[in-house]
């Protein structure tokens, strides 16, 4: 890691180094506004229309599939005994996992003062929201009778019945919906100053009115920034345990049961690492394309992408370690059923799925140990797609392989998806991309105010050497003494 820091840092003659600028191209405040805000104002590039058309077709397909499923019942899916949880749950866990990167980037990296997050957090948070919407879709239709989905909420009703709060499935309802609401608040609060920017740039009256409504009358007042920054910090602090809890609660759906392969205490941390892993991969896939098409390479630099690849390498290796730990624990437990569940994973009828998972999740990201490969854009795009495929298969492996053979060999089975399963998954991508493309079209895709705030020009002391003669500066810059500076030769 030391090598990484040194290579991308800027060297000074005396052996000291400073971090590289977070934003390249020597942009002024106004140029940053221009660079980002104009994409929410002018007509999008042709490619956007092509992508939007395809995404809309996929979305239409999703609506048809949902209608077909609701009309005919869940029998149109491959779910059947013994595999009662098939693709819908696999898809649910897959999408929830993807929905973890955004809040991780915005909350945890914020608390760790990782200022490089400012360029990517907006898009990543938007991606989170859309992924969670896709995720919420699957359990909703999976209940079979969607018209009584409100039974999962504690709403007083004529039957005087309440939800069963001891069920992990109900914990899921609360965890995922709380996560969605908090992520949305976090995203929207971050967006308010940028909506004000768009409002102030708006030329037509209706645009001013609409943006004025959503910008809440923001004037950039310091009396407001003061509460705003505090609120943002608190939201980050709240979202941090929340983001770790959501996938933990999702993993309880499995871990609280007695099915071999599910009943393990390693699930919560292992699921969370996997979620961050897949989420970052999705962010890389999307941003590699978006930064190119929208010409914002100066804001989302190669350094940003490299840092994300390091997180992918780290979490991918953690996930791989968890796969191996599961095997160890199965052997060590001396429980015949547990041992069989894992041997069956690697060598049974679904071994192909298991090895796709292993190679995509554990092996593929290992190329990121090499700096040159980590900074290779086509390669990172390919790896990020592999990771997403691998993480979908991880959920498939956990859900389907564990269920298809458990205690009673007479009730073993083999799960095969139907065309409805496949098209519903394809359709969920349509929903996701439709929402993401609308976001790129109408909302500033980079947090303008935050990026300005990390420029050296944003620091009042940047100006103190010249032009102004302070009597007493209120805040002394944290001067590094020579003693504190790391010396490297």
């Amino acid at each position: 890691m030391a090598d990484t820091a040194r290579d991308i840092a800027i060297f000074h003659g005396d052996g000291h180094y400073t971090d590289p600028p977070l934003v390249t191209g020597n942009l002024s405040f106004h140029e940053i506004t221009e660079l980002v805000a104009r994409h929410a104002e002018k007509k999008p590039p042709t490619l956007w229309y092509v992508a939007f058309g395809i995404a809309n077709l996929m979305l239409l397909n999703l609506l048809v599939m949902i209608a077909y499923q609701v009309w005919n019942g869940v029998g149109v899916w491959g779910n059947n005994q013994p595999v009662g949880w098939g693709w819908p749950i696999v898809d649910f866990v897959f999408w929830v996992g993807i929905g973890h990167a955004g809040t991780l980037i915005s909350a945890i990296l914020f608390l760790f003062r990782q200022r490089w997050r400012t360029s990517i957090n907006r898009a990543a948070e938007a991606m989170t929201l859309f992924a969670v919407i896709c995720a919420l879709l699957f359990p909703t239709i999976h209940v079979g009778r969607v018209w009584v989905i409100y039974w999962t909420l504690p709403i007083p009703n004529q039957m005087e019945m309440w939800p069963q709060f001891k069920s992990p499935l109900l914990w899921d309802v609360f965890a995922v919906s709380s996560y969605f609401i908090v992520s949305f608040l976090f995203w929207f609060v971050g967006l308010v100053p940028d909506l004000a920017t768009l409002r102030d740039r708006a030329t037509s009256l209706w645009r001013q009115r609409v943006l004025g409504f959503f910008a809440l009358g923001w004037t950039g007042a310091n009396r407001h920034w003061r509460n705003y920054e505090k609120s943002y910090l608190l939201l980050a602090g709240l979202a941090t345990p929340l983001v770790l809890s959501v996938h933990s609660v999702v993993s309880f759906d499995f871990a609280v049961s007695v099915v071999p392969g599910w009943h393990t205490t390693i699930f919560p941390p292992y699921f969370v690492a996997g979620a961050i892993f897949s989420g970052f991969a999705m962010v890389v896939s999307l941003l590699v394309i978006a930064r190119k098409i929208y010409g914002i390479e100066d804001l989302i630099t190669l350094n940003h992408l490299e840092k994300m690849n390091i997180v992918i390498l780290l979490t991918g290796t953690m996930v791989g370690f968890a796969y191996i730990t599961e095997f160890f624990m199965a052997w060590y437990s001396q429980v015949e059923y547990e041992q069989y569940a894992f041997i069956n994973r690697a060598t049974g009828p679904y071994a192909w799925a298991y090895w796709i998972m292993m190679s995509c999740n554990l092996l593929a990201p290992q190329v990121f140990w090499f700096k040159r490969l980590r900074r290779n854009i086509p390669l990172m795009f390919i790896i990020s797609i592999f990771v997403n495929i691998g993480m979908w298969f991880e959920r498939f492996v956990i859900t389907v392989i564990s269920l298809h053979r458990d205690y009673l060999p007479s009730s073993w089975g083999y799960f095969t998806p139907t065309w409805v399963d496949v098209l519903t998954l394809v359709g969920s991508f349509g929903l996701f991309f439709t929402l993401f493309l609308l976001f790129l079209r109408f909302v500033p895709m980079v947090a303008i105010a935050e990026v300005k705030g990390v420029l050296p020009e944003a620091d009042p002391h940047f100006y103190s050497d010249h032009e102004h003669d302070y009597d007493v500066p209120y805040v002394q810059p944290a001067e590094e003494t020579d003693k504190d500076k790391p010396t490297r030769s």
Binding site: K166, S178, P193, W225, S464
Partner: protein, 183 residues
């Protein structure tokens, strides 16, 4: 609400060249005895709270209030529905126990704390506020782009158009304008 009320003159607005100049000006305006003034910038400026003589934000109290509400609500909800209103025997488990109630208690505590943080921020800021006399200034449109402003409100006890304008100009302010209702 806030510092803006006072017609026909709302206040006086001056532009400054950069964040450093703005911090300096805010500090001097505060020293000159003004209290109803505010600085406006495209991003938060560090050290401005102290320059303006302001203390800690109170958003934290709203957040903890929200958190306690969420905790109490989740605890009560699970206890009352499961243990009092409709006790249902599920595999011989207790009607109410703390352990299986923890996840939902946690989620609702976080959710309501977040509500507290956002609602508290909006309430303390007096937002949403679609109308603001500052919007009368054309120049002020650049506040969300790259301009830095200091506004002294007419509601200040020490406010006097000429003195305030002279002070702002002396501090390096330009584009000084008096905010009044347009005819």
């Amino acid at each position: 609400m806030g510092i803006y009320e006072s017609e026909p003159v709302y206040g006086i607005l001056a532009e400054f060249s950069d964040p450093g100049a703005l911090v300096h000006a805010a500090e001097r305006v505060h020293k000159a005895g003004f209290r109803h003034f505010d600085t406006h910038s495209p991003f938060p400026i560090h050290g401005m709270d102290r320059a303006m003589g302001m203390g800690q934000s109170k958003v934290g109290y709203f957040t903890i209030g929200g958190g306690i509400t969420g905790f109490a609500l989740a605890y009560w909800l699970q206890w009352w529905t499961g243990g009092v209103d409709y006790p249902l025997n599920i595999s011989g488990k207790p009607f109410f126990a703390v352990e299986p109630s923890i996840p939902i208690i946690f989620e609702l505590t976080v959710l309501f704390s977040a509500f507290g943080a956002v609602i508290g921020m909006l309430a303390l800021n007096g937002l949403p506020r679609p109308f603001n006399p500052l919007f009368y200034s054309r120049n002020f449109e650049r506040v969300s782009d790259d301009a830095f402003f200091l506004h002294i409100a007419a509601s200040d006890r020490k406010f006097n158009e000429d003195d305030a304008a002279a002070l702002l100009e002396e501090l390096g302010g330009f584009n000084v304008e008096i905010l009044t209702q347009p005819e």
